[in-house]
C-alpha cells in the first residue's frame, strides 16, 4: 500500500539550519548535511531543504550546501528557495537535488513550471504555496518568504500549477507555521480536492495527533515538519509507530 510520507524540512539561512515562528524569530538548529543524514537514519521518508533567505536577498540557492547534503543521502531530496529560472534549477539538480520547489518565481512567471517540467519531468517540480487565511474560508497566496500578498487564492493557484506541469504541491499554512498548534486541515483538504497530484501539508505540527488529523481530515499525501524534529521533540520512528497504531499507512519499520 502507498504510504503517507513524513518529510523533514531544513530551513537554511547562510548555510545553517534555522527555525522561526510565523516566518520570523530565527533560531539556530545545526548543520544541514548532518541533520539530513540524521533524519534519514531516523526514519524520515524525504528531506526538503529550503533556503529561506534566498528570495529577498537574491543570493540564489546554496549550491555547496546542497552538494554536501546530497552526497550521502539516499532518500528523495527536494531543494527550494530563490530558484528563479531554468538555469538556476539546472544548477540545483546538478548539485544533487531530485526535485526543486519553486514559489515566488512561479507566481511571477507561471511558464517556469512548464519549462522545468519539460526538462526534468513533472515529478521533479514541486510548487510551494505559502497561504494565509482571508477569514472567509479562502486563502491568499504570499510570495517572497511570506512578505508579499498576491492576488490569487491558494485553490486556484494549485489548480493552475497542476495544469502547467507541477508534480506535487507543498502547502504551507502561514497562520500555523512554527506554532505547534496543528496543521490547517481545512486548507489542506481544500487543495487536495482541487488537484489530483500529491499534496504535502506543512506548518503547525506539534504532536502525533496533528499528523493523524492532517492525514485523515486534511487528506494529505505527506506531512512536513521542521522544528518538531530538529530539537528532538519527536523521534520520527516513534511518530510512525504511533501513526501505524492509528491505522495510518506509513513506511515502518524504517
Amino acid at each position: 500500500m502507498l504510504t503517507k510520507r513524513i518529510i523533514a524540512c531544513l530551513d537554511v539561512d547562510a548555510g545553517r539550519v534555522v527555525k522561526g515562528t510565523r516566518f520570523v524569530n530565527l533560531r539556530d538548529a545545526g548543520d544541514p548535511a548532518e541533520l539530513a543524514a540524521a533524519h534519514a537514519a531516523g526514519g524520515a521518508d524525504e528531506i526538503v531543504l529550503l533556503d529561506i533567505t534566498a528570495t529577498h536577498e537574491r543570493r540564489g540557492t546554496l549550491l555547496e550546501t546542497v552538494r554536501r547534503t546530497a552526497r550521502e543521502l539516499f532518500i528523495p531530496f527536494t531543494v527550494g528557495g530563490g530558484i528563479g529560472s531554468l538555469d538556476e534549477a539546472c544548477a540545483v539538480f546538478d548539485a544533487g537535488a531530485d526535485k526543486i520547489a519553486i514559489n515566488s518565481a512561479a507566481v511571477r512567471t507561471p511558464e517556469l513550471i512548464t519549462r522545468i517540467a519539460a526538462r526534468f519531468g513533472s515529478q521533479a517540480v514541486v510548487l510551494a504555496i505559502d497561504a494565509k487565511s482571508n477569514g472567509d474560508g479562502s486563502h491568499q497566496v504570499y510570495v517572497s518568504g511570506g512578505r508579499i500578498p498576491v492576488n490569487r487564492t491558494a485553490v486556484e493557484w494549485a489548480r493552475e500549477a497542476e495544469g502547467r506541469g507541477a508534480g506535487e504541491i507543498l502547502l504551507t499554512s502561514m497562520d500555523r507555521d512554527g506554532t505547534g498548534a496543528g496543521f490547517d486541515c481545512a486548507l489542506t483538504a481544500a487543495i487536495e480536492r482541487a488537484v489530483s497530484i500529491p499534496v504535502i501539508a506543512s506548518g503547525g505540527a506539534g504532536c502525533v495527533a496533528h499528523f493523524v488529523e492532517v492525514f485523515r481530515e486534511g487528506r494529505a499525501d505527506a506531512a512536513l515538519a521542521a522544528s518538531i524534529f530538529h530539537f528532538g521533540l519527536h523521534d520520527i520512528r516513534e511518530l510512525k509507530q504511533e501513526l501505524q497504531a492509528a491505522s495510518i499507512p506509513v513506511r515502518f519499520p524504517c
Binding site: 500500500m1 502507498l2 504510504t3 503517507k4 510520507r5 534519514a40 521518508d45 546530497a70 552526497r71 550521502e72 539516499f74 532518500i75 528523495p76 539538480f93 546538478d94 544533487g96 531530485d98 526534468f120 519531468g121 513533472s122 515529478q123 521533479a124 508534480g167 506535487e168 489530483s196 497530484i197 500529491p198 499525501d221 505527506a222 513506511r251 524504517c254
Partner: protein, 196 residues
C-alpha cells in the same frame, strides 16, 4: 566498472553517487562504442518514454543489444526498465527492447497518478537482484506508467492493481522504483547488481 548510459533524461548524478558510495568506479557515456564494450550497464531514467527514442537514433540501442547478447549484466531503472518491454502507451511510436513481453500502460483513473512515495514490493521468486531482501520491503516510486506483472516479474507492487516492480531474466534486470532513493533496501539491491 559500471557504465551509466546518459540519454539526457535521467537523474544520473543520484545513480552514480549510489554506486560510488558502494565503492564502485563509474563512467557516464552516450557513446555506442563505450556501451558495446562495457562490463556492466545501467540505464537510469525519469520522464517521458519517448526520450528513449534517442537511444535508437544514436546507435546506443544496438550497442546495448550486443552487450546483452554477450551476457553483460544490464540494469534498467524506472523508464529504463520500461524500455525493456515492448513499448508504452505513453509514446506509442517508440519501441522498447522487448526483452520482456507486454507493454507499459498508465495507471487506471481509480488511483492518483503519478504514483509518488514509498510502497511495498512483495516477492517470493528466486532472484539474484533481491538476494537478502525481506519478503516485503519499502521502496520509493515516482511514475505514471507501469509494466505488467507478467513476463519476468520477480517482485510486484500493488497500486491500482499489481504491476511489475522488479523484472529479471538471465543478465537483464529492471526496477520500476528508484533504488538510489530507497534507503538501505535500495543500496542492497544495487550492491546485489554489482555481484551479478
Amino acid at each position: 566498472m559500471i557504465t551509466i548510459i546518459d540519454y539526457k533524461a535521467g537523474n544520473l548524478a543520484s545513480v552514480q553517487k549510489a554506486f560510488t558510495y558502494l565503492g564502485c568506479v563509474t563512467e557516464i557515456t552516450r557513446d555506442p562504442e563505450v556501451v558495446a564494450r562495457a562490463s556492466k550497464l545501467v540505464l537510469p531514467g525519469v520522464g517521458n518514454f519517448s526520450a528513449t527514442s534517442v537511444l535508437a537514433e544514436s546507435g546506443v540501442r544496438g550497442a546495448v543489444e550486443q552487450a546483452i547478447a554477450r551476457g553483460v549484466p544490464f540494469l534498467g531503472i524506472c523508464v529504463g526498465m520500461q524500455w525493456l518491454f515492448e513499448g508504452s502507451e505513453e509514446a506509442p511510436d517508440t519501441s522498447g527492447l522487448a526483452c520482456f513481453s507486454g507493454a507499459c500502460a498508465r495507471f487506471p483513473s481509480t488511483v492518483k497518478a503519478p504514483h509518488v512515495g514509498w510502497n511495498t514490493v512483495r516477492h517470493n521468486a528466486d532472484s539474484r537482484l533481491l538476494r537478502g531482501a525481506e519478503p516485503e520491503f519499502f521502496v520509493y516510486y515516482t511514475h505514471s506508467y507501469r509494466a505488467p506483472a507478467g513476463d519476468g516479474a520477480v517482485g510486484c507492487t500493488n497500486y491500482g492493481g499489481e504491476f511489475a516492480a522488479v523484472v529479471e531474466r538471465d543478465n537483464v534486470f529492471g526496477v520500476q522504483f528508484h533504488p538510489e532513493k530507497s534507503g538501505a533496501a535500495g543500496l542492497r539491491l544495487l550492491g546485489n547488481f554489482l555481484q551479478c
